[in-house]
Symmetry: C2
Subunit: 97 residues, 2 copies
């Protein structure tokens, strides 16, 4: 089943409540860069997100360099942002504190 892409209005509303996330230039993805006190804490964060990603069947595109993690969220099946990205972004903000 195809997942609905957010309308421009829905996307604007979602971004307004996710101030730590930046919209990609083409408007199809959001990105947040995080920094932690240590590599262990950065990877512990990733592990919590990994389990949530499996549960939700919605996986981030992410990279890690020591204490830094960059997370990109998009919904390929929707050709852009969907409510799944908004829900995952909220989860990540909750975990990152």
């Amino acid at each position: 089943m195809a997942i609905a892409r957010l309308t421009e209005e829905e996307r604007a509303a979602a971004l307004a409540e996710l101030p730590l996330w930046r919209l990609s230039a083409d408007g199809t993805a959001i990105e947040r860069r995080l920094r932690f006190p240590s590599f262990a804490q950065a990877f512990a964060f990733m592990t919590r997100v990994a389990f949530e990603a499996e549960r939700a069947d919605h996986h981030p595109e992410w990279s890690n360099v020591y204490d830094r993690v960059t997370v990109v969220l998009t919904t390929h099946d929707a050709g852009g942002l969907s409510t799944r990205d908004v829900e995952m972004a909220r989860f990540i903000d909750g975990v990152a504190g």
Copy 2:
């Protein structure tokens, strides 16, 4: 304490025994791209490498998109490749099977 950078000869010898790794254009890093049967297996691989990275105090620069993981190894304190990268590459090859 500074970590010694591999000489050109040492680097060539190391790469000869690491055929799955590609030298970066500027010669300061090696990269391997891996693919797994699932996200869970990709992340399980990352978790094993994360614990070894902490033990060795030598951390990869890596990214993950679903079942794919890209690992880049370099030694910033050496300004290029060191024996630490070779040892980590061997560990990763062993884990990846």
